[in-house]
Symmetry: C4
């Protein structure tokens, strides 16, 4: 069966099947302001398959049949982000794919979320250096490296900020470099663009994205009110 | 059959029929704060017919039978924005009609959206000159002239701002003039009033309106935080 | 049949029956932030009957059987705001009743809405005088006196602000006085409390409340950004 | 029957059964921004049983079978917050449990809500002392001590602020101390963390949380606009 019409990979009565979850989650992300105007998205890796939302479509109107499926073989040498088990005709694959792959290859993530949240963007405008930092807030929902132990209230969360490029694919190397330089970071901010957040599965990727977005939002409010976001730095 | 009760033009079981889409989209726009208090709206052109929401009604409670249908013949000399194939009794045609027509006649648009979004209005208050400009933000979802190629992150988006008039119809000429003077602009802002955005079809008109509203919102935040919205102007 | 259990007045299969509309509208107002924490509400007058939501309940969880029904006889001398055709046991009648009555008696309104919207409250804090004024905004959705002709873009909207009292009923006289002193006003703001807005029917009362709330919101933004809300005062 | 699988305690066709209400309320709290990223929650005490949402899960996706049930015997000497009538396998009990118990033991509350609302957190950042105070706002929906008489517009509401700790359980003593020191307070703020609010039943706990959140939100706006939140202190 050709990759063009391999519908069996995305048709399921299980509401937790990735091809059902991704449309539902994208609708929810739309209402959170994370994927407005076709931007942003989510991918889920289950076993040796990766499910990704298409590019350039209304994220709140995705159907299971719009989902791309890519292989993720165990052997790293076989990893390639442009091979498809299922490729819906007409639709375009997500430009985020190589960046999602970073989270799989470098952090063994099971899911990665990309948002254009204005809180994330404002953080990258108000923190002009290479990282965003915050402490003494509700950072317990965030895990070290996105997949490790939960942070403590007394820890300082540090998220690297990389510079944006016109083509999303071109962020792959600088994102990987930031992930290696900041091995404890649960995500990577992209200046004037948004954020990538990952986790061991879609549930934790989603709750960590919520936690980080919450922290970005309160950090912007604090900064504009003249309050420091890190105590005893 | 008279234009008063030509229901066959608006009764369809296809959820993507314009007479079904317009009520659904208006409900969504209501929750985005774009069409509060009866203001704003959307029109869709399909082939030689134009579908428009009525004026002065609750935009989140429109029914398919409330939709006006106007002809859009191929010959430009036959274009007229006050002829009706279907005109629901009691209801009033949208005062935006001549402005929507600008997007058809000048840009060959397939859909045009008008919002009273506060982000758009604040932009017209904080940018006191004839245009709003922004660069180095997520402007990739916006197309040159609304119907051309996608902008790049490095481009500067420029949207003209025209002055408001008490009667919406009276904006027709100044909107057309702005569209001709700024042939690359994907929309026209109206000072202290809102914005008109168009696209080749309703999907792209809607996603571009979302992109522009996102840019207006972040631009207002940046301006109030003392950050420039154009780099290396 | 006693007023305690006269259910026939509120049981109807018509979704536009006031006893069905009020719960639906209150749910919507809850999500707009207008009636949070049991505050605020709406009443609808149809012919010689007035339908009112109860006091002190979760406004997003009202059922038709919670609705109070009061008579509104034609002869003004018979008007009384504490007589009930239907009075649900356990529940308390709205303390807003005498204020709603002002809109019926003085403006012949068909519906009156009371919100605790933070935009309204902020307006009463930032405008310390007896009225709030705004011009050159989208005020076309507002009618002179709430029931007359639509305002024009060039008009100046003036809404009186009365001082709050611990008991809502005690606002009746000062609200009436403000309505008489500002006969063109479509509503009355209550300092540090909220706003009352009326219209000839529930549709227009609601869309006018939306318009005014929109104007309060943008006015607060303008004030905090140092922009005047009235041009050429 | 073991506590692991005692489903009869949480399976009910009554929508007002606590095991049905808690998931519904948590979904609503999620959309209010109170329990984003797994944080926050609610417990309901009915007779001699307490129903609590699990810890560390997506609060908008809780099912009745996720609910923990604990005994609350009449004799205070028998009170213990780590005994379970029902303990779903896999899931973790809420770390808020000892704090919820404070509201039962000290105020005889029937329900307690914990939010991470950003309005609450901002209040604890802008009010650096041991309490938050406000007067002359819509505080009528708040009750003395959370379970007593309604406050009046002229009263000053005072809510203690305790300092946060890395482990939620460790807040139990300082929360109890604050409740005893401020016997009229309807809730306790936790610096850089959120708020605990209680009431005689879930309805009043919820409406009071809404009222307090409304007051926190407007207080932050007033503070940032340079307006005092207490008149004639």
């Amino acid at each position: 069966m050709s990759a063009e019409n391999n519908d069996s990979l995305v048709i399921s009565t299980d509401p937790l099947h990735p091809a059902n979850l991704i449309p539902e989650l994208c609708r929810s992300f739309y209402h959170l302001g994370w994927v407005t105007g076709t931007g942003g998205g989510i991918c889920i890796r289950e076993g040796d398959k990766v499910y990704i939302a298409p590019s350039g479509v209304q994220k709140e109107r995705i159907e299971p049949t719009h989902i791309f499926v890519l292989p993720y073989p165990q052997a790293p040498s076989l990893h390639a982000d442009r091979v498809f088990l299922r490729r819906p005709p007409v639709l375009k694959e997500s430009a985020c794919t190589p960046l999602f792959w970073n989270s799989f290859d470098i952090r063994d993530a099971g899911s990665c979320i990309h948002t254009h949240s204005q809180h994330a963007v404002m953080v990258t405008l108000l923190w002009t250096g290479p990282t965003f930092t915050i402490s003494h807030q509700m950072i317990k929902g965030v895990r070290v490296a996105g997949t490790g132990n939960a942070l403590s209230y007394l820890d300082t969360l540090e998220v690297p900020i990389i510079e944006n490029t016109p083509n999303e694919e071109d962020l792959k190397d600088s994102m990987a470099e930031a992930m290696n330089r900041y091995p404890d970071a649960p995500g990577v901010l992209v200046r004037r663009h948004g954020v990538y957040v990952w986790g061991p599965d879609w549930q934790k990727a989603k709750t960590q994205t919520e936690c980080l977005d919450y922290l970005f939002e309160i950090a912007v409010k604090m900064k504009l009110a003249g309050l420091p976001t890190v105590l005893n730095p």
